[in-house]
């Protein structure tokens, strides 16, 4: 690496980092993105679903080649097998080819003038009197470690959040804060461009099974369960959460999937908790999944990452204008507005998740049994949970106890 000083250094070339890089570079800042992986977006560790709203809000148009299939609605299945289908009549989101999508976002940043360096791992943070002033980067091709200085260092590293931890951000998860997941890409599966979600404490304790449709009769078939649960004796005689047997059981019981081929097999862990308590410090920020900015209900992180990347980018441009990269300035420009908007939404969804996880299968069957298609449309299409929940509780007072217990805590 020849150049070793930038305005902005970003760790991680995922949706958060690349969005931030694009916004900063467009504003005339000197930006470098370092990613430890050899190619962007690889390995894929994602269900690949994305609602279209956030992308459109940023004035972007996802190229056809990064989209696996359009999503036109949702099918939700209760423990007793009752299905509710909501069809939006138009494209409400996509299942992506995530590798290509991430690559596209990185390319947009490069075209605006940002530098992207893959196979470059940040191994440490450089401090000057306690203030962050850069990072140490190891190029995968050689053993040499280079010092790279910057006015701003941003962690956009997803779940591992190595640099964020080094900088002192509280990114460690409790087991209760995460779902442990497993997913197969399978083929053939004849779907109708609907996202399918299967609930039930026997199907997926504190979680659900998803089938996300992909092109050419493929589908991502996955599961997430609470990592604090002790579903099986694992290695070393330790009881822990093991999602794969649940997923395999689901597939054995599915008429079509039981005979389908598996094209990809992987697992992962996702945040389903509150975001970290602090996103900013002098000369540094954390964005996206590294800051646990992940939807606590469905575990989706792409939309929040892009939103956060754009907001953080605007904040850095403002900081440059005032030549003030202090924690206080960054807090007011990025963290505060984030918490008032996306954070607020996340908090409501976390509460809802905590309600859902207290429901037994009888409660779930009741809710689904009494839910009409219009209710699902209200939930999925308009994000209006409270109204539907209120109607449900009115018909089944036991549910009120669940809510009451939560509010009391």
């Amino acid at each position: 690496m020849e150049k070793n000083d930038y305005d902005v250094v970003i760790v991680g070339a995922g949706p958060a980092g690349s969005t931030l890089a694009r916004v900063c570079a467009q504003g005339g800042l000197d930006v470098a993105v370092f990613d430890k992986r050899k190619s962007i977006g690889n390995p894929v560790r994602c269900g690949e679903g994305l609602g279209s709203r956030e992308v459109i809000e940023q004035g972007l148009e996802v190229p056809k080649w990064a989209i696996s299939t359009d999503v036109k609605g949702a099918k939700v299945v209760a423990p007793d097998g009752k299905e509710i289908i909501w069809e939006s009549g138009e494209t409400s989101g996509w299942v992506l080819e995530r590798k290509l999508f991430d690559s596209w976002l990185a390319q947009l940043a490069v075209l605006k003038g940002a530098e992207v360096h893959v196979n470059n791992r940040v191994v440490d943070v450089m401090l000057d009197n306690g203030r962050i002033r850069g990072v140490k980067v190891k190029n995968g091709a050689d053993s040499e470690i280079s010092d790279v200085t910057a006015r701003m260092v941003i962690s956009a590293e997803g779940m591992e959040s190595f640099t964020a931890r080094r900088m002192g951000f509280p990114t460690v998860h409790r087991l209760y804060d995460v779902d442990t997941c497993y997913q197969y890409e399978m083929q053939p599966y004849s779907h109708q461009n609907l996202i399918e979600l299967y609930f039930g404490n026997k199907v997926a304790p504190r979680g659900y099974v998803w089938i996300f449709p992909k092109g050419d009769k493929r589908a991502n078939v996955g599961i997430g369960i609470g990592a604090h649960l002790e579903t099986r004796v694992k290695n070393s005689n330790i009881k822990g959460a093991d999602p794969k047997p649940y997923l395999d059981e689901f597939i054995r019981n599915n008429r079509e999937l039981k005979d389908a081929s598996t094209l990809m097999d992987f697992g992962g862990v996702i945040s389903v908790c509150e975001p970290i308590g602090k996103f900013t410090m002098d000369n540094a920020m954390v964005i996206g999944t590294a800051a646990k900015q992940v939807d606590p209900i469905h575990g989706g992180g792409i939309a929040l990452a892009m939103e956060s990347g754009a907001l953080a980018g605007d904040a850095i441009l403002k900081a440059r204008e005032k030549n003030d990269f202090s924690e206080g300035f960054l807090f007011n420009a990025y963290e505060k507005p984030w918490r008032e908007t996306a954070g607020n939404k996340m908090a409501k969804r976390l509460l809802l998740r905590k309600v859902i996880e207290r429901l037994d299968d009888d409660d779930l069957n009741y809710i689904f049994g009494n839910m009409a298609q219009e209710d699902l449309a209200e939930i999925v299409g308009k994000n209006r949970f409270a109204e539907v929940a209120a109607r449900m509780v009115a018909g089944r007072p036991q549910l009120l106890k669940v809510l009451g217990a939560l509010m009391g805590k």
């Binding site: 430890k36 050899k38 390995p43 560790r45 791992r121 995968g140 997803g158 779940m159 591992e160 959040s161 190595f162 931890r165 990114t171 460690v172 998860h173 409790r174 087991l175 995460v178 442990t180 997941c181 497993y182 990592a227 002790e230 694992k234 290695n235 070393s236 330790i238 009881k239 822990g240 959460a241 093991d242 999602p243 794969k244 992987f266 697992g267 992962g268 862990v269 945040s271």
Partner: protein, 75 residues
């Protein structure tokens, strides 16, 4: 300390995300364990979706592993 079976490991970094001591990091193409930081809490074993982690309590380095485990991990 813990041992990671790199054949089973899917490099999801779930273990590092719950490790309270930064004892597991994704370096290069695989997960690396720092036994001196490990406190034998077993959280990584509980969370691992690939069942790729084994805990050997009160073991501080590879030479203290049971011979059977050293064979199995080829160390």
């Amino acid at each position: 300390m813990i041992m990671i079976d790199h054949e089973k490991c899917i490099r999801c970094v779930g273990c590092s995300s719950v490790c309270p001591k930064n004892a597991i990091e994704y370096v290069g193409e695989r997960m690396v364990v720092y036994p001196d930081r490990c406190i034998d809490c077993g959280l990584c074993v509980k969370v691992c979706p690939a069942n790729a982690i084994e805990l050997f309590p009160k073991t501080r380095d590879i030479s203290q592993l049971p011979p059977e485990a050293r064979n199995r991990y080829n160390v």
